[in-house]
């Protein structure tokens, strides 16, 4: 009789998931993302080590650069904390990009047209942020209501609404809101100086939004661990059937989380207007700057845990600031960061497999 020896590989579900994966997955994903990008750089004839050293130089090379990174972290944190809430509730809000734009539009509108002639800076800042929050939230409520009431897939609707928001912005800057002092350029007038958000001296970091960003982390952490709402979000997100059985309202969870998430993205948008651009410009994506999509990665890198938001946002902000520099140095498009984003996300979801399964290799006859 012929005896064949072979190696038998089976995949088994882990009974207990090692906690180390909570750290391992984000770190490995980031490394893979960097390696893939390095390959892309090579493909383009760019020395990856030189490219990364340039990224480092432009993002962490000095206090100005670091303050730039922090400035980029603000919208990322605001959006990502909101996304943690919705993702924990099992709702896929892919529309933070558009919600940022709505916040930016509303903030500009308020500063330019509603509070005209007012001199109280605090009033400007307060109303820009508040209305940015409310309208960003309302914008997110549209897909939320469609999902809660009609079971319409929110992934596609939130995505589509990004484009709609962008066209609304373009319509405004090319049409009714086109500036009177802009020599015909499709941009709005600059908002009055009293509407500019105060900066940390010597940097470009806008203070009100920075504070709100930090507050949002604390807020989401608090909501998820200390409140009945957070409990309901966790139950609904993990098992909607059990949530129904326990009498938790699906509509309430979806609407509240989406409103807060959209609202925080709206605040980020208001911050970009009040703290960075001071006006709307014809290219909507240069205002939202992919922050809404990058925030998805920040939220996942943080493993939907508010505590992880700061390191995750820091890493992504470095890359954003760094690759902006690459555009100039190596003539690379803005889109290059999406290669990193994509590969980091794919690695992250793939590694979930190894979190849940282990591979058993044994010899068999």
């Amino acid at each position: 009789m012929k005896v064949l020896r072979s190696i038998n590989i089976t995949i088994r579900r882990r009974e207990h998931v090692p906690r180390i994966f909570e750290l391992l997955i984000p770190v490995c994903s980031a490394v893979v993302g960097l390696v893939v990008c390095a390959l892309i750089f090579l493909l383009q004839g760019i020395d990856p080590i030189y490219a990364y050293s340039e990224i480092y130089r432009y993002s962490l090379g000095g206090p100005i650069q670091v303050s730039n990174v922090i400035r980029v972290m603000i919208p990322l944190i605001l959006c990502a904390t909101g996304l943690i809430l919705v993702f924990r509730a099992g709702v896929w809000n892919i529309g933070a990009e558009g919600q940022i734009l709505i916040g930016a539009i509303v903030a500009t509108g308020v500063a330019l047209f509603v509070l005209q002639g007012n001199t109280n800076s605090a009033l400007f800042i307060f109303s820009m942020i508040t209305l940015g929050f409310i309208f960003g939230g309302l914008w997110a409520l549209i897909p939320a209501i469609l999902k809660a009431k009609l079971d319409v897939n929110e992934i596609i609707t939130t995505l589509m609404m990004n484009y709609i928001a962008a066209y609304i912005l373009q319509y405004l800057v090319y049409g009714p809101w086109k500036g009177k002092k802009t020599f015909g350029f499709p941009i709005t007038d600059e908002i009055p100086p009293q509407a500019h958000f105060p900066l940390i001296p010597g940097t470009l970091i806008h203070i009100p939004t920075l504070i709100l960003a930090i507050c949002s982390i604390v807020f989401v952490f608090f909501v998820m661990t200390q409140t009945t709402l957070g409990y309901e979000i966790k139950v609904f997100g993990s098992n909607p059937d059990a949530a129904k059985y326990a009498g938790i309202s699906k509509t309430k969870v979806i609407l509240i989380t989406m409103f807060i998430s959209g609202g925080l993205a709206g605040v980020a948008g208001a911050g970009e207007i009040g703290g960075v651009h001071h006006r709307l410009i014809y290219n909507p994506w240069s205002i939202s700057a992919n922050y809404g999509f990058t925030a998805i990665i920040v939220a996942f890198l943080a493993r939907l845990n508010p505590i992880g938001i700061i390191p995750a946002a820091f890493l992504m902000a470095i890359l954003i600031v760094g690759t902006r520099a690459l555009q100039i140095t190596f003539n690379l498009p803005v889109g290059v960061i999406n290669v990193f984003n994509g590969s980091i996300l794919i690695t992250m979801v793939s590694m979930e497999f190894f979190r849940h399964y282990r591979i058993v290799i044994r010899r068999s006859e």
Binding site: T225, N239, Y245, G247
Partner: protein, 527 residues
């Protein structure tokens, strides 16, 4: 070719472990050609696991399988089917959205080459012949989801016929059947035996095993405890083997226990259901004009073959499903079509039918699961804030009170065993001190200790004065626990009988739609 062998299947020293649980422990089992062999055991004894190994769903960790004397390796069901083995599962292996014909064509390439195109004339002719020959009632072009449970079973039988399977495995085939359908199935099985086929019949019902089989193999906790000739054994002997001496003794004590006297006149009505009609997921009537009352301090049983509207009835009462017609009152308050939260607030607890799907959130901790119904009540929350300290304290209390086996209250509840998950649910529901406790199949799939535990809890709730609505398909359970028993059939309550006048036979007949008292058959028709 099979005439040369007397033994159709031999499974030798089969061991199968899931994680650290040994589901099959060195089992040796054989089936002869032309034999009906019952595989008897309690839920969780390892019967289905063993047959899933034979059918290729699982691979044994150790042991060998011989089919007609030849050693075989079965790595997927398709291999098994090629060897002439067919398993009829409790949950039929059918694609709901395909037609009967398409479902059968999925496999058809094994013996006959079908070609690339689906030109099922040849297949259709063959199937039509089979349907006529064996008197099946199936429309080949119907989508599977349109069929009743027993029709789906017939489709699976039809598959076995069309592939000319020589070894047929039936997994608890009678649990979804009425007695009349059961008779039909038994005669079908005997016909297969006459044709020289071997049948393996998985069951936990003792009488059934004796009446249909030639030999019986009894499994207990993953081990074979005996193989007997059906003609030489008795229900008592089988029960002793199946449950073990110790289990049986306790069983007697339980059954001797006196029931509380059932004078309902002085008692308060807690749940009143009148003329209730409810639709199922597909929009066809599931509950048709049901009326009954449940009093404080009684256990009211609803028994019937699964799928006769019990699930929808419970969901309507607990607010999980829309009521189409009729009224539900709890403590004389109208709760028809009120949400689950409102109904809970009136003191209604619910042990759900699907405990993993509805009853718990596997990823959340034991403590978090224990407050699923009370987290929004003080002291577990103060306004919008949770009081985690109080939640942990409460959880530890319940864990010890209800002897839930868990390292601590912080681990995810999904890591507990099935029996302990049910303890978590029962603890949560009972600790609400409900006025009305609705328990749907609360002991289904539990081991003896957990079953006994749940039944004791139901009794003590009744003694406390709670109204208990028990939905079950286990006649023994209902007879043991209930004061009054309602039999549900095709969405209606056929009769409500008191415990004194209830007998197994009477309930069994009612479950199949036959009312013996009137001497008339309420519904002769079956599919």
């Amino acid at each position: 070719m099979c005439e040369n062998y007397e033994v159709a299947v031999l499974m030798k020293n089969i061991t199968k472990r899931f994680h650290n649980i040994v589901a099959n422990d060195r089992i040796t089992f054989d089936v002869k050609v032309g034999e009906i062999h019952a595989l008897l055991g309690e839920n969780g004894a390892g019967k289905t696991t063993l047959m899933n190994i034979l059918f290729g769903h699982y691979r044994p960790d150790e042991g060998e399988i011989y089919v007609y004397g030849r050693k075989v390796k079965i790595s997927c069901p398709r291999d098994a089917i090629k060897l002439g083995i067919m398993m009829i599962h409790q949950h039929p292996l059918l694609v709901e959205n395909l037609s009967v014909l398409e479902n059968i064509a999925l496999l058809y390439g094994i013996h006959d080459s079908l070609g690339l195109l689906l030109s099922p004339r040849k297949l259709r002719d063959k199937l039509t012949d089979m349907i006529e020959k064996y008197n099946l009632k199936i429309d080949l072009d119907a989508k599977v989801w349109q069929l009743s449970a027993s029709q789906k079973q017939q489709v699976e039988l039809l598959k076995a016929l069309v592939y000319d399977s020589k070894i047929l495995i039936l997994d608890e085939p009678t649990s979804i059947l009425t007695p009349i359908e059961k008779e039909w199935l038994f005669s079908f099985i005997r016909k297969m035996k006459r044709d020289g086929k071997s049948v393996i019949f998985i069951t936990h019902k003792l009488e059934e095993a004796i009446s249909i089989s030639d030999r019986i193999t009894v499994l207990r906790r993953g081990r074979v405890v005996g193989t007997l000739n059906s003609s030489e054994t008795s229900v008592q002997e089988l029960a002793r083997l199946m449950i073990g001496e110790e289990g049986l003794r306790n069983e007697r004590i339980v059954s001797i226990q006196k029931r509380a006297d059932g004078d309902l006149d002085n008692k308060r009505i807690v749940l009143e259901v009148s003329d209730l009609s409810v639709l199922d997921d597909r929009g066809s009537p599931a509950v048709r004009g049901v009326s009954f009352e449940v009093y404080e301090g009684e256990i009211f049983g609803i028994i019937g073959v699964s799928g006769n509207g019990q699930t929808e009835l419970v969901e309507a009462i607990t607010g999980l499903r829309k009521v189409q017609k009729g009224r539900i009152r709890i403590d004389s308050q109208d709760v028809t079509n009120r949400g689950p939260r409102y109904i809970q607030s009136l003191g209604v607890a619910h042990i759900p039918e699907h405990r993993i799907k509805h009853g718990i959130v596997s990823e959340l901790s034991v403590a978090e699961n224990l407050v699923l119904k009370v987290y929004r009540k003080p002291p577990f929350c103060k306004g919008p804030y949770l009081n985690s300290k109080e939640i942990s304290r409460w959880a530890r209390e319940l864990i010890s009170e209800f002897s839930i086996v868990t390292p601590n209250e912080k681990i995810p509840v999904g890591q507990l065993s099935g029996g302990n998950i049910q303890r978590v649910i029962v603890a949560r529901e009972v600790s609400m001190k409900p006025k009305l406790l609705i328990a749907a199949y609360p002991t289904h799939g539990l081991d003896i200790a957990a079953t006994r535990f749940v039944r004791e809890i139901l009794k003590s709730e009744k003694d406390r004065g709670c109204a208990v609505l028990l939905v079950s398909n286990d006649i023994d359970e209902v007879l043991e626990l209930c004061d009054r028993i309602a039999v549900m059939y095709e969405g209606r309550i056929l009769k409500i009988i008191s415990a004194e006048e209830a007998t197994k036979e009477k309930i069994g007949l009612l479950m199949s739609g036959v009312d013996t008292i009137e001497g008339a058959q309420i519904d002769q028709h079956y599919h």
